[in-house]
Symmetry: C2
Subunit: 344 residues, 2 copies
């Protein structure tokens, strides 16, 4: 079959790879209907060292079950399913506490010999613990929206939950990428009254407004902090969603928080900087978040997507087939595209 | 009157200072019955630059109201009161949200021209918002225990609350100083089942056991992390109380937390280090805490002290008068004393 393989910075190829097959009785094989490129895929695309053998990549997919192992009880061939961006056994201490990203048998797609999602098919370990069955037809128009349940919508939701967003809240969202926009949608869904998005790309901030943002702050760093304080009676916002992942953005996020407030961070930290406890101490600002246990949030978010109440798929502004994936990486890196949807 | 003045590292003196008097109609004058030396007083004692004029010091006191301003409505001369270690107006946005440490008119004792607590009397701004009346006689044996409500007991409680301690929880307390021991007591009060204290002073860890600690870990750094993991099935504890304030102790605290767990920190951060979001991201470990809004916790903690159910005063192992304060600083710095009680 064909799948995307990254060989180093700027070097993404679509190649022939071995067809996946069941290895464990708890596996399932899924034929990928939809996948996409994630902002976090761009980090290796920008910085990975050259690697002749290459590494499978992609971690968001939705597709049809083709075959299940003998111990898979909740799924069968023909089921339409979405996978969170990590697999998990569904039964360990952490899975039972809804922290599937810490599953003792779990892992990320494309690492340690598992398949990446940007390909024609994926072998899914612990299929019962990992996959979520979708009650729609395989040709439903909702598929792109349902694909966002693999990562970005739950990740935006995780930022909002980690930041303690409550009805009536004031919220700042740092980052106008797909996750930041999902964070706006999630904060709005949780009842936030005022949502300030930091961003300077009008097409993105326009979508943010449609998702519920009430204010747009194009400034960064000190100027952004000053601007948000101006907008909030000098106080900052009780909740801040950090959806970028640099030390600078994290530092800004912490300063944007109102005294006693909380920053929920989901941007993959690219450096060790940004958090100085002295800055937070006198103001009792907290920090929570991390890699999103998407599996635990899908059941909560699914109904709002199925009903059409929310459409998190509007972040997809380009669609391509597998052959277009390398150019999709380039387009997202050059900010020509916000997020690329892929139909293998 | 006489009060303690710090003139630089290692240079604490008891001097004649002007008698305090009412300045604002919201002030009260309090004759100090009991005060004490705090671990955080030792930071300037170790590092402050030489200052001829000197600075009043001390922030924990309990005493009798001598005089109140015309706008003070909740107190009158003769009332026995305890003061939290910050003063606050009791009416601003933050005070009404129980975050009196962020009061827009508030401050710390001994700064910006306010009196320090280690003296014979204190002018208290915003007396109604700051002071808490104590329903005991001025000669009650409970006074030392009630004095702990000024700082260390609520601060230990704040660490436990910030770390999200719940009934049945596993907890690690980093630091065996007075605040760490108060944290043990507070975690135990909140129903923690297993409490591991990190410390290597047997007299302190013995008291920790009496306060509810179930395990003592004398190791530090990597070895401590390994030992706590051994004690907890490889997982670490869901809640960690950081009661020291160095980058090293904060870093250790974050590594001691179980995936999905939370560190409550109350040690005044002495350097900017200790928090690397990369360490926390994959494990969804959160950080909360800061300077304790003691004023908000006193009403909750007071009944357990009044009833004798809890005795947080056991951290006082030396008692002196004002003349003994300089030697008290030395004794605490040399770890001859855990915490010095002062009867001016």
């Amino acid at each position: 079959m064909r799948a995307t393989v990254i060989h180093g910075a700027g070097d993404v190829r679509v190649e022939q790879v071995p067809d996946p097959s069941l290895r464990e009785p708890t596996d399932a094989l899924v034929r990928v209907s939809l996948t996409c490129i994630c902002g976090s895929d761009l980090w290796p695309y920008k910085s990975m060292g050259a690697d002749d053998a290459g590494q499978r990549i992609g971690h968001e997919f939705l597709g049809v079950v083709e075959e299940v192992g003998s111990q898979v009880t909740g799924l069968r061939a023909g089921d339409l399913v979405v996978s969170p961006f990590t697999f998990s056994d569904g039964s360990c201490d952490f899975c039972s506490e809804s922290l599937q990203t810490s599953c003792v048998h779990g892992g990320l797609w494309g690492t340690n010999g598992t398949d990446g999602a940007q390909g024609e098919a994926v072998r899914v370990p612990y299929a019962d613990g990992t996959l979520v069955k979708l009650p729609v037809e395989p040709d439903s128009e909702l598929l792109p929206a349902l694909l966002t349940l693999a990562d970005i919508f739950p990740t935006g939701h995780h930022a909002a939950v980690s930041a303690g967003v409550r009805p009536g809240d004031t919220v700042t969202v740092v980052g106008d990428g797909a996750v930041g926009l999902s964070g706006v949608l999630a904060a709005s869904r949780l009842g936030a009254e005022r949502i300030i998005i930091m961003g300077r790309h009008t097409d993105r901030t326009d979508l943010a407004r449609e998702y519920g943002a009430t204010d747009v702050v194009p400034e960064r760093g000190d100027e952004a902090v000053e601007r948000v304080r101006e907008l909030t009676g000098g106080q900052g916002t009780r909740s801040v969603l950090e959806c970028v992942g640099t030390g600078e953005s994290l530092s800004t996020a912490l300063r944007l928080a109102r005294d006693g407030g909380r920053v929920g961070y989901v941007g993959v930290p690219q450096d060790g900087g940004g958090v100085d406890a002295r800055e937070l101490f006198m103001r009792n600002v907290g920090l929570a978040g991390g890699v999103c246990p998407a599996r635990s949030y899908i059941p909560e978010l699914l109904p709002d997507v199925l009903s059409g109440e929310l459409d998190p798929s509007r972040v997809f502004d380009h669609t391509t087939d597998l052959d277009g994936v390398p150019d999709g990486y380039r387009a997202m890196t050059d900010r020509e595209s916000l997020k690329v949807l892929v139909r293998p």
